[in-house]
Symmetry: C2
Subunit: 233 residues, 2 copies
């Protein structure tokens, strides 16, 4: 189980462990999160404290803390006296999360369009510039672009609480689990919708931004559900 190792680690072994004092837990969380959303840790894989302490060369304290944090984010599930397992979202959970995301993100879009701060608007325009480029996109490219776009909307929306709450919606995990539906057609459509939303925000039309975001996410939710329905449950 070396899926957790950094790409290159020929350095002395103790370099693999946490960086500075006070950052050990963060280090472990990030590594595990990355391993999960990237799929290196498969769904249902067990995470045992003992193995992780050996893997990261740290004591059980930080490991336990890291696991609790991942569990709070919903990436793993803690089973008492059994260990933690990488969580698989059920079809229903995905539907529910999309329903929530629909509300939160359309709110963010409306707030973003209504925001008057010039600096933030410039920042937004710069951040989302990539979506207007006409270039072929691979799935990985799109996922990255997509994450940045939605994040930029939240940032311009300027509601800090909303931003942190959205971060807890496990979007990366969802994407990882339904990512295989992203054909080139779907991808183009998504990019087009992003542009529509962005245009409404940049023109300062809150209601149009709100509606466009709802449309975008409704469609995404339906696709995810259809895909998930085909494959299980």
């Amino acid at each position: 189980m070396d899926v957790l190792q950094l790409p290159v680690s020929d350095e002395p072994v103790d370099d693999v462990a946490g960086p500075r004092h006070g950052a050990t837990v963060n280090f472990i969380v990030e590594r595990l999160r990355d391993a999960i959303v990237s799929g290196r840790l498969k769904l249902g894989a067990r995470l045992v404290e003992g193995e992780l302490t050996a893997e990261f060369r740290v004591s059980r304290g930080p490991v336990r803390e890291a696991l609790r944090r991942l569990a709070a984010d919903g990436l793993i599930e803690l089973v008492p006296h059994r260990g933690a397992i990488v969580r698989r979202l059920t079809r229903r959970e995905i539907a529910e999360l999309f329903q929530i995301r629909l509300e939160l993100e359309s709110l963010a879009a409306r707030l973003a369009a209504a925001d008057g701060d010039a600096a933030r608007r410039r920042r937004f325009a710069a951040d989302i510039a990539p979506i207007f480029e006409d270039r072929p996109r691979r799935v990985a490219d799109y996922l990255c672009e997509n994450a940045k776009f939605h994040e930029a909307v939240y940032a311009l929306g300027n509601n800090e609480q909303l931003k942190v709450l959205a971060g807890r919606l496990q979007l990366p995990l969802i994407m990882a689990q339904v990512g295989n539906i992203l054909t080139s057609d779907v991808l183009d459509l998504s990019v087009t919708e992003h542009r529509t939303i962005a245009a409404a925000i940049l023109e300062g039309d809150p209601e149009r931004a709100h509606a466009a975001m709802r449309t975008h996410l409704s469609r995404a939710a339906e696709m995810a559900d259809a895909e998930r329905g085909a494959e299980d449950c």
Copy 2:
């Protein structure tokens, strides 16, 4: 600092500590949460691991874990090498949280009104019965009734993710910090609005329930903001 002790504890001292194996952390979390929302722990009060271990007769492990959990819920703030302090929400944070709550809870109201499960509807009707009673309400009564009402809406809404997310919105904390605006007039108005919402849900009118909930929370948000504006910032 005996604000954490249970009301009555004449029993042998070791009864104060955690109940059964595996519930220690929960025990500490609940006690601290209660102490915070009830106001026994004042805003800005320090929570030091060492004191808590002595207070609860447990080791640092569970205490640390409990603190992390409370911090994740936003009730306290962890300051590195300084300890944790009971968090005071800023005026802005409260406004932002209400904005989010407005969306989530009006979604819940719509879902609740649209839900067709007979058993859940019966359960809902039973749970909210108290709001239709015509009796004088003290603030504490209302707070309890209010919490139960909104919880019942979420339950009928039948979106599990939405329910857990709403639980992270620190409503009790907000209530504790703006609770002093609850005059008898305000209280009556809130009860009336609750009835309006409940009626729409019971009649199965999603849009009316949605709108009524928005009205209710918009008003509440304005009042909270006005109060907070007077007192600080």
